[in-house]
Symmetry: C2
Subunit: 358 residues, 2 copies
DNA sequence: CCATCGTACTGTAGCGGTATAGAAACCGAA
DNA sequence: TTCGGTTTCTATACCGCTACAGTACGATGG
């Protein structure tokens, strides 16, 4: 039994293929009586509607948008912040009818998702700014929206105020009288350990912005932080980072963390080492992961509205697609969402000088 | 400037379009010298490789597979178990070069993802067995793998031993001497509250299997459980369920929960109500969500290997696609992964009769 | 020296739709 | 009756690529 196509149905009903196509895609183009007959015939033949691939070619749209993630997609599903972001995107995308396709940055054999997967547009949420995958997307001239990336002229972008949030977090600590402060940041692709030149961290835009924010406030207070790079963004990496810090000669009284997951590890390791949080050590996170509120002590952190970020990204992408379809070329909007310091229980006034036991 | 296609390049280099196609897709079909020239010309023209949609139509494969989720995709991203499952799938899929497209069960306007999104196959992980989306996928004759669904002859499936796990959980409680036992299950699409006829719960396969398992062990011990249906699968729903139970006349000494998220809410509400867990109330979860180990008291639960489930599902799908491409029609394999009771701190021997304060 | 073979490339015929222009039939108004 | 305007359906020309069956030609072998 050969495959059922529009032609099969057309022959069966005795009309042209075009009319069958219209029956499915443009109901106003034929009488409803004929349409009924056509649909009935299609049903009888087990036709499942116009072939999506063929339609994609003819119409020039696929009905799916991509989201470019890191090499290991798994990572995106391990992180509560990332999953909330993705969830928010799909939710916002739902009414538009777009499906979301997950794209790995990595080439897989001779398949390069960013180059070879059919889609109408894409969100770039990869961390590595220089990824060749981004170059492929650009080359395809797909409507693109950058998220948590250095804003690029010509493409819409969505960011949060990483710098301002980090600055507020650091200033919170200096306001509390802390002077021996450490930073546990994320050193993607780098080895874990001490970082000599904080502002030279190679990783992505977000890492850089947060570092700049922290340093702005610390510089103002004349504080020179110890900076540790964590290889991953999970509690174990935070744990490791704290142990490195405790081994050093100038134990910090407060720690700024790149994200809540790292902060969780830092707190856990601190408690395991007999330190009291916040009495002996203040810890600040970033993101306001749901985890932050559940932790004991509840984590002081910088809140970002991940839901809003997802919604903004999805909305920006759909309008970008809409525009490119109509050939409109407005200026690309760059969204910057606010961040907010949330003070909970993991930070306290620095202990008086007596605390200077090294 | 018109679009660059194979023909553009062919004209430029002075070869046939077919040769250019081969340069990209079948390098062994031409001399490497000519191939280099073609690729160089393509590069100069800003060509980004064969158009994925056109290639999909001509080749009959798209390079993406779908995963059919519930109506609200967001839900899938809120649940730690579901995200771990998805993460595991994408990881297993990565080396095969397939991208993963997320499909909502719901129609969105006149777009029905299951019908209209190009893909080579799909995982069915929707909860609603009777979803029209599944019917669309079937109609398209796509290679399909059912996950956590009633196994269907003719299609591979991946399940865990829900029934055995539930039975072990219930027996654990009866072994501990509990006789007043309640069940907090998930009553998808139903109203929250007391369920009179536990085995008639309408929801999906998993719900049913777990219920059967629980009842098997309870029946053997002559226990008639009180059954509460929760509307969602989160802590708040568990919280609500426990309050309903405490309002009833026969307070349970132990509770079996459909999942760890519900169990968390149950425990939280119990503690809030002044009950000690496990001394006054034993609680058992299901899934072994990472959460279970983090909780205090750490949760006794039934472990399922979500990673393995994801890997098995992805593997089953790729082999199903492979087979259908080659027209092979072997018998579909039905995978059943084991579950295991993990006893932690949330269950204890039933208090002696003195505990019968109602 | 002719038959055979492998390599390198080309021509044609689709894949299964949709856009667009146009033909045929029907309608009410002038 | 004529004529513009609808409504309904059709013919044709793509969309951009790939499968497949060639053709051309130099190399191999007896």
């Amino acid at each position: 039994m050969a495959r059922v196509t529009l032609q099969t149905i057309a022959d069966r009903v005795g009309v042209s293929r075009m009319t069958v196509s219209n029956a499915f895609s443009r109901p106003d183009q034929l009488s409803s009586e004929l349409r009924e007959r056509i649909l009935a015939a299609a049903d009888a033949l087990g036709y499942s509607g116009p072939d999506p691939s063929a339609r994609a070619l003819a119409r020039g749209t696929t009905g799916a948008v991509g989201v470019l993630l890191t090499d290991s997609l798994k990572y995106a599903f391990a992180d509560e912040v990332a999953t909330a972001f993705l969830g928010s995107i799909v939710d916002e995308l739902a009414p538009t009818g777009f499906a979301l396709t997950l794209l790995s940055s990595a080439a897989q054999g001779d398949m390069i998702p960013a180059r070879d997967v059919p889609m109408d547009g894409a969100l770039v949420y990869s961390c590595d700014t220089s990824s060749p995958a981004i170059a492929w997307l650009l080359r395809r001239k797909l409507p693109l929206v950058y998220v948590d990336h250095e804003p690029e002229p010509g493409h819409p972008s969505v960011n949060i105020d990483d710098r301002g949030g980090a600055r507020a977090a650091a200033q919170h600590l200096t306001d509390l009288g802390h002077r021996r402060i450490a930073i546990v940041t994320w050193n993607y692709m780098g080895l874990p350990g001490l970082i000599a030149d904080p502002l030279a961290v190679t990783a992505g835009h977000v890492t850089k912005q947060r570092m700049i924010g922290w340093m702005e406030a610390l510089d103002k207070a004349g504080v020179h932080p110890t900076v540790i790079g964590a290889e991953r963004m999970d509690a174990d990496a935070g744990d490791l980072a704290l142990r490195l810090l405790l081994d050093g000669d100038a134990r910090p009284t407060a720690i700024l963390c790149f994200c809540d997951a790292l902060a969780q590890g830092v707190v856990r390791a601190a408690i395991d080492s007999g330190l009291r949080v916040p009495q002996d050590l203040s810890v600040v996170g970033f993101d306001d992961n749901p985890l932050a509120e559940r932790m004991r002590p509840a984590l002081t952190t910088v809140r970002q509205d991940v839901e809003a970020k997802g919604r903004a990204a999805a909305a920006a992408l759909t309008t970008a697609i809409e525009r490119s379809k109509r050939g409109v070329t407005n200026r690309a909007r760059h969204v910057l969402l606010p961040t907010e310091l949330v003070v909970r229980e993991s930070t306290a006034r620095a202990a008086p000088v007596s605390g200077r036991r090294s």
